[in-house]
Subunit: 336 residues, 4 copies
Amino acid sequence: MLVVMAKGATEEDIRRVEEVIRGHGWEAKVIPGGERTAIGVLRNKGPIDPGIFLQLPGVKEAIPVSKPYKLVSREMKPVPTQIKLPGGLNIGDGQLILMAGPCAVESLNQAMTIARAVKAAGARVFRAGAFKPRTSPYSFQGLGEEGLKILAKVREETGLLIVTEATDHEVLDLVEEYADIIQIGARNMQNYRLLRRAGQAQKPILLKRGMCASVEELLMAAEYIMAEGNSQIILCERGIRTFANHSRNTLDLGLIPYLRRETHLPIVVDPSHAAGRRDLVIPLAKAAAAVGVDGLLVEVHHQPEKALSDGPQSLYPRQFEELVNELKAMNLFLEE
Amino acid sequence: MLVVMAKGATEEDIRRVEEVIRGHGWEAKVIPGGERTAIGVLRNKGPIDPGIFLQLPGVKEAIPVSKPYKLVSREMKPVPTQIKLPGGLNIGDGQLILMAGPCAVESLNQAMTIARAVKAAGARVFRAGAFKPRTSPYSFQGLGEEGLKILAKVREETGLLIVTEATDHEVLDLVEEYADIIQIGARNMQNYRLLRRAGQAQKPILLKRGMCASVEELLMAAEYIMAEGNSQIILCERGIRTFANHSRNTLDLGLIPYLRRETHLPIVVDPSHAAGRRDLVIPLAKAAAAVGVDGLLVEVHHQPEKALSDGPQSLYPRQFEELVNELKAMNLFLEE
Amino acid sequence: MLVVMAKGATEEDIRRVEEVIRGHGWEAKVIPGGERTAIGVLRNKGPIDPGIFLQLPGVKEAIPVSKPYKLVSREMKPVPTQIKLPGGLNIGDGQLILMAGPCAVESLNQAMTIARAVKAAGARVFRAGAFKPRTSPYSFQGLGEEGLKILAKVREETGLLIVTEATDHEVLDLVEEYADIIQIGARNMQNYRLLRRAGQAQKPILLKRGMCASVEELLMAAEYIMAEGNSQIILCERGIRTFANHSRNTLDLGLIPYLRRETHLPIVVDPSHAAGRRDLVIPLAKAAAAVGVDGLLVEVHHQPEKALSDGPQSLYPRQFEELVNELKAMNLFLEE
Amino acid sequence: MLVVMAKGATEEDIRRVEEVIRGHGWEAKVIPGGERTAIGVLRNKGPIDPGIFLQLPGVKEAIPVSKPYKLVSREMKPVPTQIKLPGGLNIGDGQLILMAGPCAVESLNQAMTIARAVKAAGARVFRAGAFKPRTSPYSFQGLGEEGLKILAKVREETGLLIVTEATDHEVLDLVEEYADIIQIGARNMQNYRLLRRAGQAQKPILLKRGMCASVEELLMAAEYIMAEGNSQIILCERGIRTFANHSRNTLDLGLIPYLRRETHLPIVVDPSHAAGRRDLVIPLAKAAAAVGVDGLLVEVHHQPEKALSDGPQSLYPRQFEELVNELKAMNLFLEE
């Protein structure tokens, strides 16, 4: 924390700030300047509330200097984290992993049809929701445990791993039994009870960025999980809410290189939710791959016009295949 | 839903759209125009996904016409809802109700000191958190049930009613026993499990708008509660996230008159969280009162520099009194 | 500028930063900390580019400490500026000044009709555009100099002062001849050629905040004007662009108390452009008055359904009168 | 325009809307629905103001149906526009064109050094500002005409074409003499005087999207230029202002495929201004190329730490070369 004094601040104002700093058991370091004086705060543990100083006379600003996240930070662990999954899948090893599937599990037949198609195209993980958080209480909310059982059958038959969402901490108990990767959705990024439960899980967590979460909030959400003991976390960018309304959200690809510097955790991108409309998905997926991510999460449905949720943003299987081919043409996706 | 055709759309394109509409059991009404044709969709129940049409050839746009919320809408119930509380308090009857108190319950002494001060100034409801959702896992998370017991003592001694937050559905069981009004925080506005549980509660719910929630999402969250049977809901605007960083959030006061037209539910404003800094709270509180709200939720702490959370945005008791006096001077607050 | 080193920064990294600082002719002050070292930059004139340091090895962050604006700052001139106008009008003396009128001058009859009505209700300044910046090249662009002549007649007959927009530096030559206050619109807030010309004008400037301008950018735009010698500047908040689409823009009232601390310039609010729809204008106007501004800029039209621009956000004269009465009832507006 | 009536709207309310529509010389088409009635407006020329209807009793909403842009629209001209430049350069023919150079021309030596480097790496156009719009009146504002003469020498010696900014309509007279492509900057996207002058120019215009411009506003700005007779327009996405502050702006790549559907004009991306920091530029440039744009505008400086403006976001020449190599490795850039 750096406390910057106003130009007209008196000696007494400065002394008062020093006293408050020492009163908290920290150390104060006065930095006289040409125009104004600043006072550094040292030896604090954890973040300091700027308001402690803003309310004192003669104080112009209080600027936080250190970041509040620890365990997830690259400073703490310079080596990138890799998530090792059954079947030799390794998220974060430099390869692009494709995770694809419908928004929701609707039936065994639907899931299996799509799973076979995305596997044939190159996907290694099947994504589909059994528990769906929906804006309207009147919309289809997912098949629940029946959906999880279908996902287990899909894995058994296709060998694809399963990522699916846990919408609350009790649902997570169930999801943990069936899934290979447990997803926490954007609306739940700050559901701390759920995050703590995820921290006790034995499975990797795919944590989606909230629609208007800052980098710091995203990393602090991951910190909640890691503080409980689970360090297997995959971060997921899926678009932020902005004034621009030509797409559902605005995909924030500048986040990826920024996160690479800040954290050791692997990062994937979901272009489907960012786009909200099919014709933007392939371009955004290619952009994300070109930036350099550890995986893509893509919605695919063989009959999007009949899908029970998010049909309009789902690719047809042949479009997913086309995407994979374009990724190969850019040397961004390697066949095994 | 209105499906707008592109200029070059063929007769066949139009017929195809009509067929899709009828295939869903709805009615299609073609509206020929000078420049282009539009097709209205009738007899649908519930919202239609625009993507159903966007993927058809010759379709330019698909524009939703009806709103997805029903129970909370003013069309459904033109008369404003009033929330009747013990002690004759009535939220939504045209009077401004002041709800004030610290961010968190820290001790019996702290709570009682602040409660007496805000009551003396004119508050009718005491606000303080026993369960605190915090961005950092390392921050103070509230006293839990002990905090609720302190709140009950505050009510007993001062006669103030209690509003306090339930951070998940199990916490809500506990909060319902102690509180007069159960708060759902901004980060939980789309925690549907919590919303459903709130819908089964016998106490009124104060529902805070999420930091980047649209009007529609806010009203759909209230719809979740109401669909479960609880129609005692107070909506709360507390600032939205924008590019502007001189305040923590941007208070969206235009929402209030807009909501008045859309819903019958009472509305309160929390200027403290919008401001994030003490010197903006009084001006924003006065602005909200001038717009015409049913209540204000204001953070007050007698020792904000020692507060365990959100100290910098808490008013001193004498500032709260000053705010009340200014509201009286504007004839926006009446003493009993 | 405070340069914060990464945890693993070496002695050499620190020396390199010191050298770069000295190489620019500034002074370096090393501040060793428990966790990491920071280096303060002293004796610089004007803002420093953080990127100078961000590119050096071992540097974590570079945090600007001082503000770039000088002449407009409260630190430079602690006493509030008052703008003295003909007829004894004084903007910034604590009184609320009402500026009202149609979006555009359409005819002498239209302007005079509205001017008489707003004057009768309490307005002191007539606002109307002769040169209109319009999103579409096909929309009505204003009457031009003919409009200015009509405005001059309105002043002559009613005694109202005139505020009207100059859309470029050549138009400003013309506007300066006729207007009492020269308006610079939101889209031109960073039209530096226009700002410089405004700085050479002998009339006060009403400078509107750009739709997505930060506080700093707004104040730097005023600094452009003031640096050319014109210190008669009125700042105007008119709403910012956010994700919220229930109103045209989101009125940022937290800006007002923030600006009061940062600058000595008077501040007015335009609730009409923020709202974009008539039913939100009165509530937002009252809110702005309650926050404490030096004036309101309100669109009024006697036949908004026939207005050539922005009709839907214009109040009817009787609504403007109603607004004035409500402001009086709140003791926020005093009759002479 | 579709006027949607409230549920309780009376027959008289509907008749009144019909009358207003006919009063404007348009045609009204009533569309009765199960829940509510809608009324289509036909035979209007140009956009209709929704407010005309919103102010009538019984009206719930007024939804614009047609887009206001004409000349720039794909509906008007389905074939993509190609901009043919001297030396056989063709923007919009499917090839990625690299435009690179420093933020500002600082000296002949600086410009020539960078120009040679970017040409060697594969650039075809040299970008550098002679007239610089700067937030601070105290910052370096460019070399003016001297800078343009330097650019002419760069072209003469290297064969690179020149793109440089015109900051107002008089500057454009000068820029037109020297440049091959005239740039209009983001802050001037709605400087209509400048746009009209650009519409009379004999050279292509590179039009940058304003920091918070909607798609519609961007296309309407291009419409201003095209309405004056210049159809040689290149649109440029350069990031929008959002709450996210880890990069200077948020690059909106979803805009590109959306624009492809709406307009026939070629599109380029400027990753440097979006990023604001060097380490994000290469990833974002690759992302933009992967989405499929007609060109990239990249800032390059051989001594960014000494640059007079925007040094921190400039690539070193060797980084630019690295970017080109990575684009080649993705088969997104072809050597001649």
